[in-house]
Amino acid sequence: MTQIAPSTIDEILSSRRIIITCGTGGVGKTTLSAALAVRAAQSGRKAVVITIDPAKRLATSLGLSTLGDAPTDLTHLLGAVPGTLAAIMPDTRETFETFIRSISPTPTVAERVIKNPIYEIFAKEFSGANEYMALQRLLALDRTGQFDCIILDTPPSRDTLAFLDAPELLSQFFEERFIKWFILPANQVMAVGVRKALGVLENLTGAGFVTHLFDFAQSLFETRLRFAADLKAVTALLESSASSFVLVTGTSPESAREIGDFARSVAEHKFRFDGVIINRTLGLLDAGTPSTPGENAALRLLVALQTREKEAIGILKGALGKAPYFMAPELARDVHSIHDLIQVAQSV
């Protein structure tokens, strides 16, 4: 790499155009993503956060009331800042259908995909669809050229790698080789094998399923070219040096494996990993003075937590290699206002 990797939060915010925050649920990723956008605006960037499913209070404190793809300008909330701040709260329910329509050569093809009973399961349960949709939105927003610092808060998922793997998972469905097995078997031997196997499948699943499957594969086949072009653009954006990934984790030693896996996976994908934000740490607080036995007991519990955190962070550092880490404090309550968010932004 010819470029020196950024080593502070502000360097990351000033050198990347796209920052993608990943992390499992419950680590405070959404609040931190918004706080990063605030901090970027304060340092002069045209910042926007794409926030998925924020807590109602966070949305309210940002003045976000409607779901949609249009950015809401929030700069006025920050007072005098050199940059700008905007936020988008996309409607995750509609997007997959919109996407299918956008890659279908004709409306009829789109209808055939969407009306197929298999699509219903596909859209609802396929892990990867939501993630891919977020990337789509990111690409579209970047193309508008309105922003020079886009923070993408990734959808909640069961593990942090889900986001990185989403494009590949989804592209399996559009894999030409696979669809061809269904609609135009490459050679006779293969065709016979496939037919037999599908016969067995039909016995297991009852009539109808295999027919739906054929139809689903056939309609997807017609969308494959546009999907491929789309995937290429998304991948190019993620691979460019304008984009980077930041992982948000908790303070337990179990996060070490998550960090190691994530850093490895980012490297395998030829993406950039800018570091870890260890969120909700108590390590930034002094003890204070307890005044009742109850408070004393609670303090002992928290000091024990602090000690455990310290050990954990030692382990986490080992997993990080050269990537930097940042600490964000455990909050006494949720973020209620933009004022709160500014304080969080400064505390990282």
């Binding site: 419950g26 349960e125 909640p156 496939v194 037999k196 699943t205 408070e295 024990a304 006494a332 949720d334």
Partner: protein
């Protein structure tokens, strides 16, 4: 929750980070100490071997359920004739489908759990986080509907029947005394109840922080001037107030409480929780 503990299949479900793994492990441990043959199940834990079955004690086993193995096992059972099953599983289209077909993954994982209930007195399942956990249960319903007849349809229907039978199955929703988890778990509870009307879930509040006497601090957290705590004592006081405030979200919900246990290694935590749960389990006269 006491009523729930009598059931054979117990799904432990909730938002990520609420302690589902510790709670499910602690429950499994408490059952096994009552000499109930118990299987504690997790799904596709990358730190364990696929399909790995560990004997933790004579009464407690831990299974890392893996979809592709469960699928092969299921197909083997359904087709019956080994060479045909092998031919079927080796076919590239079928291999592809078993990997990529939406919902199938979830269905076979639950199918495996459903099947294993025949081999144990108790099966405690550490479910994936909310969205994915619900999708797992919904996939069963979807498959029951999507397939018109055939063995998969029948099995999905039978699984559904078991999952909504309060004599056999229970769902335990685990939450933390924090606003988002409490809100989400209430919604999750409603969703589960609408999916399985005869079998309402039970709620468990995990990691309840010690409650402190009211000091001079304002009781309404939204009136605090900053979300940042001054020091640990200030944090403890505010957390105590905040949890009380948050729990208004669970007004009208009947729930059990697990205390905040002193941090330690995972097995120490589980052990502490298990001892906490043990009296409730012992009381049930489970062997009858």
């Amino acid at each position: 929750m006491r009523d729930l503990l009598k059931r054979k299949l117990l799904f432990v479900i909730g938002k990520g980070g609420t302690g589902k793994t510790s709670v499910s492990q602690a429950l499994a441990l408490a059952y096994s100490r009552q000499r109930l043959r118990t299987l504690w199940v997790c799904f596709e834990d990358p730190t364990l071997g696929p399909g790995q079955l560990d004997r933790i004690s004579p009464y407690l086993h831990h299974l890392n359920c893996e979809a592709s193995l469960a699928f092969e096992e299921y197909i083997g059972l359904k087709i019956g004739i080994a060479p045909i099953a092998r031919f079927f599983l080796r076919n590239p289209v079928i291999r592809y489908l078993s990997k990529a077909a939406p919902g199938l993954h979830e269905l076979v994982l639950l199918g495996k759990v459903w099947h294993e209930r025949l081999n144990y007195d108790r099966v405690v399942i550490d479910m994936p986080a909310t969205g994915h956990g619900v999708a797992m249960l919904q996939s069963t319903a979807n498959f029951a509907r999507l397939f018109k007849g055939g063995p998969i349809h029948r099995d999905a229907e039978a699984m559904l029947a078991t999952f909504q039978d309060p004599a056999e199955t229970g769902c335990l929703v685990v939450s933390l005394p924090e606003e988002m988890p409490l809100r989400e778990s209430t919604e999750l509870g409603e969703l589960l109840h609408s999916m399985f009307p005869a079998c309402p879930p039970a709620f468990l509040l995990n990691r309840r922080f010690p409650q402190l006497e009211a000091g001079a601090i304002e009781r309404d957290p939204s009136k605090w001037s900053t979300p940042i705590a001054q020091d640990l004592v200030d944090y403890a006081r505010k957390r105590s107030i905040l949890e009380e405030h948050n729990l208004r979200l669970w007004n009208g919900i009947d729930y059990s409480v697990l205390p905040f246990v002193t941090p330690g290694s995972r097995s120490e935590v589980t052990d502490a929780l298990s001892h906490f749960l043990a009296p409730a389990i012992a009381e049930l006269d489970l062997r009858g």
